[in-house]
Structures are given as structure tokens and as C-alpha cells.
């Protein structure tokens, strides 16, 4: 089934928000539709890009808190005895 650019933009934005952990509330859905509408108003030929460009302004995507990969280094040395 061929989908319109607006449908595609809506699907992509929704998928992004789901993966990013944005709660699927009524407000989120409304903001998603608003983002697509605004993108259509701005440039109908590049609706996908314009929709995704509104991610940061319209949604608060939860930041990923990455724990420390390693503790602070405490340098030591390995001793080698001859055989």
C-alpha cells in the first residue's frame, strides 16, 4: 500500500518517540500531529525532514543516563622476573 508523505512522517516520528521512551499520551499524539501539520505548511516536498526537525522543540526526549564505563584509574605496574 502506497502511503502519503504525511502518513510516512507521522509513522516515523511516532516510531522515534516510542524508541526514545516518550510516553504515548494524548498530548504526545496531538504534538505529533501538529509537527506533521507544521511540516506540511512549511514545505510539502520535504515533510519528512521538517517533521523530524521539530523533535527537540516540541518533545522532551528523556536523556539516557550512561553510568561510568570504568572507575578512576589507580596506576600500578606488573613486575617481570627473569627465568
Amino acid at each position: 500500500m502506497i502511503r502519503t508523505p504525511a502518513e510516512r512522517a507521522l509513522g516515523r516520528l511516532t516510531a522515534y518517540l516510542r524508541l526514545a521512551g516518550v510516553a504515548p499520551t494524548v498530548e504526545t499524539s496531538r504534538a505529533t500531529v501538529d509537527a506533521v501539520r507544521a511540516a506540511l505548511d512549511e514545505d510539502g516536498d520535504r515533510v519528512l525532514q521538517h517533521t523530524m526537525d521539530q523533535l527537540e522543540t516540541r518533545f522532551s526526549v528523556p536523556a539516557v543516563d550512561v553510568p561510568p564505563q570504568c572507575p578512576p584509574m589507580t596506576r600500578g605496574s606488573i613486575h617481570y622476573e627473569s627465568d
Partner: protein, 715 residues
């Protein structure tokens, strides 16, 4: 600065010397008894062998047969008497010198713990399995209430960018799930030097001084929290102990082969381990994992220099563990294998092909020990014997092969050539060749008994200790022993031929690819037929020749030739998981954890409840790193800042190619550089989500992420 070793300190103070330590006297006595028993048994058997031979050792071939027989019989005899020692120790309720028996449980419980790092070196391992194992260990420690004394390190040597990304994402999920941020760490070396020992050394140089001890795990290791706690308490109580090794039990076996190995390990392992420990006492070997190590002396005394010999004896050490134990002993510290410590596990390779792939590396590594056995300075005699034990584990195979070749030559000469009444040059009287098949049969039977009696002893020990119920009851345990013995008889010649090849390859110094282990896959018929074809052909030709030569000799060859002819089907059938599970349902090859359950196994198999990246997406780790916002953020946080320079331009071209055409035509090295560059990861993520639907990434998004298949139209 490192404290002097306990033995050295004692010597300086004029305190008790080596000989005054009670276990050393016991070790001396036990080893003397073992040596006398082995010598007596071997000399008797060799005497009979000479009597069996037609010319009674009078020809060169017969001299060779006699020498090889003596060596091989001696080797079998060592195994037999070790099991005998183990049986006695088990019947006596344990070894009175063991560390665990020196302290009451209450005393150990009161012992405060020291900072301990649980380290898991990995190299292209199945990521999910090894991290689930670490999760099980973590949770088990958590249940002891003593988690705060332990930190966890995943030490990766992986090179493949897909594996690296999977490891990084897995580490994050583990931290999320266990709330283990700041306790579970992930370190990847970019420069892989000196294999696993180099990986551990890299950890020690960076963080060794933060910890008193490290518990070394393999990628398939599982250790109960109580066991780890008890080990650290023992180390705190016994400051002269440098390495405390457990006797790991095989667990979690699924394929038939793995289940056979698991049963053998569980049914006989305790007895053999107890026997070995009773002979080694404080001069035991370190097996490279499932052990706790005192870090300070390890860093001071156990650095491994590259070998400076020739051929295989030159270059980095491949099998580090035995050498590290020997160096620890040389520095005056004790190395103990404590068989009373339960709850220490590892897994078996799923098939004989995978076991042999691992043995290929180990054979070369163990043969390198010959250099240290002969030329290592101040290494204790017991550790030299441990080297010899490791070498003979593989070198006995070519000896056995040579024995078979010489026996075939001897038979051919006896049948085809005219009788030589004067085999010796300076012989006055003729020698009438005699052949006594009944003597030969008696000798063969006694050798077989020696090989199988340890299994009977182990079964007897289980029966006497009323433990057979943990193996499904006395009937099931006995049937399992019979089945295991049959399988091990089928596999022994296959291992012999493969090990002979590995030893020859090692001595010729053929370079090895050091790969991760397969821990799950079944062997297809095509692969088995190809890999086992040489063995089958050689054995078929040998058996055919034997039949032509003398039908009786053909019968003698059958225990070796038949398993080799059947090597391919044996390999395939034993790798099958379904058969393994069917045997389990039939009550065969059961082990205690399968009947009684294990929280450790439950944790290993339990589902992840991480809120981390979406794992249901059918994407490669690389695609997920670029598409999934959470995964991208994780990898970007772990990546490094962009580096300027000539390589930058190339990197920008690579990422542009990746954006336009996807990663499929990009070499792994370029992909690896791409995923290490924070700016490129973020840049690609940003653009991929804006990619047109007919682009590689647009299609991946439409089909695999958004879930709308079909022909994407331009948007």
C-alpha cells in the same frame, strides 16, 4: 610496595621453614607413596608386556613398543591412583589439610571482606550468554547482602564492531537491570597483546591497586555469591595463600555431548578433584578461571615474559594459568584447590568439534610449558609436575598413536616376514618367538580396568554417600555411567588422532587463530563429514589392512578403528540438543541442579527486565546503534571525541558512504573507527531518521522499525 611473601618472611625470622609447614610434610609423604605405587604398577605391567611380545623386547620395534607402553601405562596409572587417593579422601570426609577445615563456618562468617574485583575477560563470546552469567553472579552476591565489597569488570578484547556494539549495549542493559551503575564496568582494549593474560594485566595496571583480590571468571563461568564470599573470607584468614582455585562443575548442558561431559564431570569430578588436591595441597594449579587471586603478589611476581626459546617456545605465553600458579609458588605463596567449595560452575563445549577447536589452542599452550619445565628457574617441583601433567594431557596422544603404529609393524613382521631366530647381533642361541594371546588379553583387560575403575570408584563413593539420588537414583546413575563410558570410548580415538595433529602442529609452530568459543551450535552433517574424513579414511584403511593381515589382529584394532570410522555420525549425533533433552527426560545423565533446581541457573535463564534499548528490533548491532535513540546515546557516550588529522577526511567519507548506501560494503576496520567516533554516531543517527524512504536506511526504518513493509514511495 608489596609485602614480602609469607614463606620468605618466616625464613628471615628464623621461623618455620617449608618443611615445618604440616601440609608440606603430608604432601611429601603422599607424593612419595603415589610415585612408588605408579612405579611398581608400571614396572609390573611392562614386565608382562615384554613377556607378551614375540621376541621379548629383542628387536628395535619391540623396544619402542615397550618404552611407549611403559610411558602410557605410567600415565594411566597416575590417573588411577589419583582417583584412588580421591576415594580415600572422600570416604574420610575430606582432607584434614584443606583450608576450609582449618576454620569453622562461624569463624569464617565473622571475617570481614576486602575489596574484590570480579573480572570476566571476553573475546568474541556470545554476548547475551556471558552477560546473563554475570547477572546471575551479581544477583547471587546481592542475595548474600555483601555486594558492596565487589565490583564487576567486563574486560573485552573483541575486535569485530558488531560484537563490540552488542557488548556495550549489553553492559548498559545489565547496569540498568541490576541498578549496577558504578559497580559494573566495561573496558575494551584497543590493542590486544598477549591474549587473555594481557587483558588481565591491562586491568591490573589500571585498577589492580583498588582491590585486594580479583575473582577471575570465564565467559561461561557461574559462581554462587556465597562461594565468592567464602573464598574471600578464606583468603583473608590465610594470608600465605596467593591463589584459591575452585573445582568448577559443568552446568547448563543441552547437547548430548555436553550432557555426557556434564555428567562425567559431576559424577567423577569431585573424586578426581579431591585426589588431585590431596596430592598437590598448597602447590596446586590455577586453571585460569573460577578462582580468587591475591592481587598484590600477583602483580609483583606473576608478570609473564614472552618465552625466549625457539619455535613454539618463543613468543607470548598462550596458556598463562599454570605458569602464574608456578610463579606464585616461586614467590613463596601457596596455591590451593579447595574442592569443598561448591557453587562454582562452567559450561562444556556443545560438541566434540568445538572441544577439539579449544584443545588445539590448549595443546600448543601446554606444550610451551615444556620450556619452563626444563629451564624455569626456582620453580617448585610440584609445579613442574603440573606442567608435565598438562603436557602429557596432549602429548600422550601421539605416544599412543606411535604405539599403535609400532604394534601394527610388529604384527606385519610377525605374519609376513620369515621368523628371525637371532634378533640380537651377539646372540649365541636361537630365540624362539612366542605369542601368548591369553597374556596379551590379560594385559589389555588390566589396562582397561585401570582406565575404568576410577568411574566405578566414583559411583561407589556416590552410593556410599547416598548421593546417587541427586543423579536420578542408583539405577539411573549406573546406567548413566555405562552410557558415558560408551561415549568416552567412542571419542577417545577421535581425540587421540586430533590431539596428535595438534601436537605436531604446535611443534612445527603452525600459527593459530585465537577465536572465541562456540558455545551453542549443532554440527551439520557436511561439516562433520569433512572434518572427520581423514580419521575415517585412515582408520578404514588400517582396519582393512589388519583384516587382510590376520583376522585376530583386526579384532584387536576394532576398539580404535571402529570409533574413528564412526567419527562423523558420532560427532553429529552427540551435538544434537534434542537427543540430549530426550535423554534428560528419560532420566539419563542427570545432575543435581537439574533435579533440585538452582537459583543461579534461574537467574541465568531469567528474562531481562531492563528498561534499556529495545531489543526486539530485527537489526544488527551496528544498525541499532545508528537507529535506536537510546542505543545511539549509549554508544555516543562511550565513544571518543573526534580526532583531527589525515584520517578524519577518510572517516567523513566513510560515514557519508554509510549514510547513502548502508554499512554492507564498508570494511570492518572502517566500521570500527566509525563507531568509536562520537560525532559520527550522532551525525548518522540524526540523518538516518531524515533519510528518504527509498534509501537503505529509509527502507530499514520502514520495514523493521515502523513496521510497514511494502514498496516505499518517495516522501
Amino acid at each position: 610496595m608489596c609485602a614480602p611473601a609469607p614463606a620468605q618472611t618466616a625464613a628471615r625470622r628464623g621461623g618455620h621453614s617449608d618443611r615445618a609447614v604440616p601440609w608440606r610434610r603430608a604432601a611429601y609423604m603422599r607424593r612419595t607413596v603415589l610415585t612408588l605405587l605408579v612405579l611398581a604398577q608400571t614396572l609390573t605391567a611392562t614386565y608382562y608386556m615384554v613377556a607378551v611380545l614375540p621376541y621379548h623386547g629383542g628387536t628395535g620395534v619391540e623396544k619402542g613398543i615397550t618404552a611407549l607402553f611403559a610411558l602410557l601405562f605410567g600415565w594411566v596409572s597416575v590417573g588411577f591412583w589419583t582417583a584412588g587417593f580421591g576415594f580415600i579422601v572422600q570416604r574420610l570426609g575430606g582432607d584434614r589439610f584443606s583450608l576450609l577445615r582449618r576454620h569453622s563456618p562461624a569463624e569464617l562468617e565473622r571475617t570481614p571482606l576486602a575489596r574484590t574485583a570480579v573480572v570476566m575477560p571476553i573475546y568474541h563470546e556470545p554476548v547475551d550468554r556471558c552477560l546473563q552469567g554475570l547477572r546471575a553472579v551479581y544477583r547471587s552476591l546481592e542475595r548474600t547482602g555483601k555486594l558492596e565489597h565487589f565490583d564487576f569488570f567486563i574486560l573485552s578484547d573483541s575486535r569485530d564492531p558488531q560484537t563490540v556494539l552488542a557488548e556495550q549495549a549489553g553492559w548498559y542493559r545489565l547496569c540498568e537491570e541490576l541498578n549496577g551503575g558504578g559497580r559494573i564496568y566495561y573496558r575494551r582494549r584497543t590493542l590486544n597483546l598477549r591474549y587473555k593474560s594481557g587483558n588481565i594485566a591491562d586491568f591490573l595496571r589500571r585498577w589492580g591497586r583498588r582491590y585486594e583480590y580479583m575473582a577471575v571468571l570465564d565467559a561461561d563461568s557461574l559462581v554462587r555469591g556465597e562461594t565468592l564470599v567464602r573464598m574471600v573470607q578464606l583468603m583473608e584468614r590465610e594470608p600465605q595463600v596467593g591463589i584459591l582455585q575452585t573445582n568448577p562443575a559443568i552446568i547448563n548442558a543441552r547437547s548430548t555431548f555436553a550432557r555426557v561431559q556434564q555428567f562425567a564431570n559431576r559424577a567423577y569430578g569431585k573424586l578426581l578433584g579431591a585426589g588431585l588436591a590431596s596430592i598437590q595441597l598448597g602447590e596446586a594449579a590455577y586453571w585460569g578461571h573460577n578462582a580468587v587471586i591475591r592481587i598484590e603478589p600477583f602483580m609483583k611476581h606473576c608478570g609473564l615474559r614472552a618465552l625466549r626459546g625457539f619455535g613454539v617456545f618463543k613468543g607470548p605465553v598462550l596458556s598463562h594459568d599454570f605458569i602464574e600458579a608456578a610463579y606464585m609458588g616461586r614467590a613463596g605463596y601457596e596455591v590451593w584447590m579447595e574442592t569443598g567449595l561448591d557453587g562454582s560452575y562452567e559450561e562444556s563445549p556443545p560438541s566434540v568439534v568445538d572441544e577439539l577447536a579449544r584443545d588445539r589452542r590448549w595443546a600448543k599452550g601446554n606444550l610451551q610449558h615444556l620450556w619452563l619445565l626444563l629451564f624455569g628457574r626456582r620453580i617448585r617441583f610440584a609445579h613442574r609436575m603440573a606442567f608435565l601433567n598438562g603436557i602429557m594431557s596432549y602429548f600422550s596422544s601421539p605416544l599412543w598413536l606411535a604405539f599403535l603404529v609400532l604394534v601394527s609393524i610388529e604384527t606385519t613382521r610377525f605374519v609376513l616376514w620369515p621368523i628371525n631366530y637371532f634378533p640380537s647381533q651377539h646372540q649365541l642361541f636361537p630365540l624362539w618367538p612366542q605369542w601368548h594371546p591369553e597374556w596379551a588379553l590379560r594385559l589389555a583387560v588390566s589396562t582397561v580396568v585401570l582406565l575404568f575403575l576410577p568411574k566405578v570408584l566414583a559411583l561407589l563413593d556416590l552410593t556410599l554417600s547416598r548421593s546417587t539420588r541427586t543423579f536420578g537414583g542408583p539405577v539411573a546413575a549406573t546406567a548413566s555411567v555405562v552410557f558415558e563410558s560408551l561415549v568416552s570410548s567412542l571419542l577417545a580415538p577421535v581425540r587421540m588422532l586430533a590431539h596428535s595433529r595438534f601436537v605436531a602442529g604446535a611443534l612445527l609452530n603452525i600459527s593459530l587463530h585465537w577465536g572465541g568459543q562456540n558455545r551453542s551450535a549443532e554440527i551439520p552433517w557436511s561439516a562433520a563429514l569433512i572434518t572427520q574424513a581423514p580419521a575415517t579414511l585412515i582408520a578404514g584403511a588400517w582396519a582393512g589392512f589388519a583384516f587382510w593381515l590376520k583376522p585376530l589382529f583386526f579384532l584387536w584394532t576394532l576398539p580404535v578403528s571402529l570409533p574413528l570410522v564412526l567419527a562423523a555420525p558420532t560427532t553429529v549425533v552427540l551435538s544434537r540438543v534434542r537427543l540430549g533433552q530426550r535423554l534428560r527426560r528419560a532420566g539419563l545423565l542427570l545432575v543435581p541442579e537439574e533435579l533440585q533446581g538452582s537459583p543461579l541457573l534461574d537467574d541465568l535463564h531469567g528474562d531481562s527486565d531492563s528498561q534499556g534499548p529495545d531489543r526486539s528490533l530485527p537489526l544488527t548491532p551496528f544498525e541499532q546503534a545508528l537507529i535506536d535513540p537510546k542505543t545511539n546515546a549509549i554508544h555516543a557516550a562511550l565513544a571518543r571525541e573526534p580526532r583531527e588529522g589525515a584520517r578524519r577526511a577518510n572517516l567523513l567519507a566513510v560515514r557519508e558512504q554509510c549514510l547513502q548506501h548502508g554499512p554492507e560494503d564498508i570494511p570492518d576496520d572502517d566500521l570500527a573507527r566509525l563507531v568509536k567516533d562520537r560525532e559520527s554516531l550522532l551525525w548518522l543517527h540524526h540523518r538516518i531518521w531524515r533519510a528518504p524512504p527509498d534509501n537503505y536506511w529509509g527502507r530499514r526504518l520502514e520495514v523493521h522499525v515502523i513496521g510497514c513493509g511494502g514498496n516505499p514511495a518517495k516522501g
